[in-house]
């Protein structure tokens, strides 16, 4: 029997897709500029089926990619040409939600927001909140160590994953971590998070839940320049406050958000959103200090949400900003490089200069609290050469982030999109160590082949690739 015949024996018709029209939706993820045609797609409903599929791939040497909703912005869930796609969306059960233990045990296809929804009756929630959270799955969040707007205070996905059941690329099933917040021995589950599916497929994930904050205090401040908004962030930090979120939008994204959802934002050069959260008595005191800091920061206008509805109104424009920018331009590239917070001003100035130099508009919406930029490079794919120019500009921004002491990616991951820039951030020895780990766990290089590591798949002489 061949590979496909064996797959047919494992998966009934309807859960094994091989026809061109059925495969098309799986050819790319949210980074739509890249497309690859897989050999087949399987839709497992139980973890045993995932394990069998992986073992089959290993036996036949067929590369595979596990994916959820395909919201990756770095091409992390782009199929391997001629490989198998293991689509996990049907594995979407919350297996156990134990409020006393403050944990949820979930299948990888569970949508991020669903965890918080199910935990809400118990006063608990799942903290990581990537913008994709109404769609993206926990399995994908684990692969990419997803972030969101609250990472300074609450950390990224890795901190919220307490245990994993994983099938390794060689088809072995292992349990990493435990059910509590602490463990002994190497933090193997912490290491797995963020390896972008190169070291195996998560079959079951144990998540930490937190008590939902009691009170929020949400403030919107308008500034005459991005620099002034950036300075305000520094002043907030220097005051000893630790807000749950701090977000900045520039004029272009404000205008886009206004056009899309009419959030009622002031039309200025920069907007800063600061949100405090915690016990009401504490938030009350923090709010007094914040008011003073923002007053001293030279804000043109300050609005404080007086109700949950007003709070949602402030967030509405911010949350809509990405899709709204789509209205300004036929196409855009979004990056998510990170800079040390104190260098935000410098980074934004340089992005402005690059935008001029390349003759392409760049909109900025970003997580200011953690220095995570989100420049949106606007272009028109129908104009010859414009995509290439946009990609080059985006690349210049990435290099800038690394030069300022930051990172290529705060939350979207490396995927295919940024792997060429890995040598900007990491030395050859660092990359070789990653290659060796990949090689040890996946000697055939089957799991999500061609992602993250710039030298991967380029033959046996890794040293030469990085020389």
């Amino acid at each position: 029997m061949g590979f496909l015949e064996e797959l047919r024996a494992l998966f009934p018709p309807g859960r094994l897709l091989t026809k061109e029209a059925e495969l098309a939706p799986y050819e790319s993820d949210a980074l739509t500029a890249y497309r690859k045609r897989p050999l087949a797609v399987v839709l497992p409903e139980r973890k045993e089926e995932v394990v069998e599929a992986v073992r089959l791939c290993r036996r036949y040497g067929v590369p595979f990619l596990a994916r959820g909703s395909g919201t990756s912005l770095s091409g992390g869930s782009l199929p391997v040409e001629g490989g198998l796609v293991i689509a996990l969306n049907r594995m979407n059960r919350i297996l156990r939600l134990d409020p006393k233990a403050r944990i949820a045990v979930v299948e990888p296809g569970v949508v991020n927001l669903e965890v918080s929804r199910q935990a809400a009756p118990f006063g608990l929630y799942y903290a990581p909140d990537p913008s994709s959270q109404p769609i993206s799955t926990i399995g994908g969040n684990v692969a990419f160590n997803s972030g969101g707007a609250h990472c300074l205070k609450y950390g990224m996905t890795a901190g919220h994953v307490l245990a994993l059941e994983v099938v390794t690329p060689e088809g072995e099933v292992v349990r990493l971590g435990g059910e509590g917040l602490e463990s002994v021995g190497p933090d193997l589950h912490g290491f797995f998070v963020g390896t972008e599916g190169l070291l195996g497929v998560a079959l079951e994930i144990t998540l930490r839940l937190l008590p939902k904050p009691e009170a929020y205090h949400t403030l919107l401040a308008a500034y005459r320049s991005l620099e002034a908004a950036g300075n305000a962030v520094s002043q907030v930090i220097r005051s000893g406050l630790l807000p749950g979120a701090m977000e900045i939008m520039d004029r272009l994204s404000i205008e886009a958000a206004e056009a899309a959802v009419k959030a009622g934002y002031p039309r200025v050069e920069a907007l800063l959103i600061v949100e405090l959260e915690g016990p009401k008595e504490e938030v009350e005191e923090e709010a007094k200090l914040l008011a003073q800091v923002i007053k001293e920061s030279g804000a043109l206008e300050v609005r404080v949400a007086q109700s949950e509805a007003e709070r949602q109104a402030i967030w509405k424009g911010r949350k809509a900003a990405f899709s709204a920018v789509g209205r300004l331009s036929p196409d855009y590239i979004v990056q998510d490089g990170v800079v040390p917070r104190s260098r935000l001003g410098e980074a934004l100035k340089e992005i402005g200069r690059l935008s001029q130099e390349y003759g392409l508009r760049v909109a900025n919406v970003f997580h200011a609290g953690d220095g995570n930029l989100h420049p949106l490079v606007l272009y028109d794919g129908k104009k010859p050469g414009e995509l290439e120019r946009a990609e080059e500009l985006a690349g210049e921004i990435l290099k800038l982030c690394v030069r300022l002491g930051g990172s290529l990616t705060g939350e979207h991951g490396i995927g295919v999109e940024k792997k060429g820039y890995m040598p900007e951030m990491f030395a050859p020895e660092d990359l070789l160590a990653m290659e060796r780990v990949k090689e040890a766990l996946d000697p055939q290089g089957l799991a999500n082949r061609g992602k993250v590591l710039p030298g991967h798949g380029q033959g046996p002489h890794l040293g030469e690739v990085y020389a």
Partner: protein, 356 residues
């Protein structure tokens, strides 16, 4: 006992290339982990010390692995910041690297999380003497394989840590502690379980058997009184208020309550396990972070009872066989082969027996 010192990255590389089996040691505050076994050379890293970068406004610092935590905390304190995972054994000389290798956090981990939530990056020397960096020096970063997280609790299995980067937070402006004693373990446990799911942002929530709870609050001095009162209302109990609580908690996080015991053990726990753990032959002990972390003192029979019950634990002092159970072989072995192919470092199964 053969011994070598490494006071720089280059000396650490040299030591790794020279000696077939190494046992890294920082401050020696966890002798069960830093005492060489037969055939191992002690690698003394206490000279590899100093803070390399610290920008208070970034909430980030980078220091050599052998830097004593005491030195780091003093520097942070001068800028109104602290290590939110509240590492133990600081007075006993614990270093940053040793704390990462053992994976240890203290009582205030209750508020913002443990060591694994705050580590940002590492530079280490692998088993072939190569220098490898993982993570970064910014609070948000998703680039590359996260070797820094692999170091947490690794007991040095994958390499000699040289530099570490961490996230820090502003210190609470003021603190207060409420101590409540209940009639039985079950009552105290029930009160603790109730508090765990409420959004009270407690700095610490400790259970001291048989039936005492210690709850620490931190925040603005103006709000603390109100929050304390609310806590008393929720629990319908006055308790005893410690307005000056810093010395008390310093004693707790330095595990002073274990001092009389010959064997010191960390046990990852959960509230549900507490009754079972309380049936074992343990000595002085305290459950931190809402019952998620037990530090217990015991004699040999206590350790045997822990092992017999199949409860995972890490011995810090007083016994040879430190880690139970051994890490999951299918995943761990491959990582070990990739980074330490000659088995120079700890956490090796030798001769078929789990010798750690």
């Amino acid at each position: 006992m053969p011994e070598v010192r490494a006071n720089s990255l280059e000396e650490a590389q040299e030591a790794v290339r020279t000696y077939p089996r190494l046992r890294p040691k920082g401050g020696g505050s966890k002798p069960a982990l830093s005492t060489p076994k037969d055939g191992e050379t002690l690698l003394d890293l206490s000279g590899l010390r100093g803070i390399l970068e610290y920008a208070p406004e970034e909430f980030v610092f980078t220091a050599y692995a052998g830097t004593p935590l005491k030195e780091i905390e003093e520097t942070l304190r001068a800028h109104g910041q602290y290590l939110p995972f509240h590492p133990p054994l600081v007075e006993q000389g614990a270093t940053l690297g040793g704390t990462v290798a053992a994976g240890l956090s203290g009582p205030m981990r209750e508020r913002f999380g443990g060591l694994r939530d705050f580590i940002l990056g590492v530079r280490f020397v692998d088993g072939e003497g190569r220098v490898v960096r993982g993570g970064g020096k910014v609070v948000k970063n998703a680039a590359g394989f996260p070797f820094h997280r692999l170091m947490v609790g690794s007991l040095g299995a994958f390499g000699v840590m040289v530099e570490l980067s961490f996230k820090v937070f502003p210190s609470p402006r003021a603190t207060q502690t409420l101590r409540l004693t209940y009639g039985s373990l079950a009552e105290a446990l029930a009160a603790m379980e109730r508090l765990r799911v409420l959004p009270l942002d407690l700095l610490a929530l400790d259970l001291i058997p048989p039936a005492t709870l210690e709850i620490r609050l931190g925040g603005f001095p103006e709000s603390l009184g109100k929050r304390l009162k609310r806590l008393q209302e929720i629990l319908q109990k006055e308790g005893e208020v410690l307005a000056e609580d810093e010395t008390h908690w310093e004693g707790v996080r330095n595990l002073r309550f274990l001092e009389e015991a010959p064997i010191w053990v960390k046990v990852p726990s959960t509230p549900a396990w507490v009754p079972k753990l309380e049936n074992l032959l343990l000595g002085p002990r305290r459950y931190l972070a809402g019952g998620e972390l037990l530090y217990a003192g015991m004699e040999a029979k206590g350790l045997a009872s822990l092992r017999q019950a199949g409860i995972p634990h890490l011995v810090l002092k007083g016994a040879e066989d430190a880690l139970f159970p051994h890490p999951p072989e299918a995943f761990f072995r491959k990582l070990k082969l990739a980074l330490d192919p000659r088995s120079r470092f700890p956490l090796e199964k030798r001769g078929g027996v789990g010798e750690l």
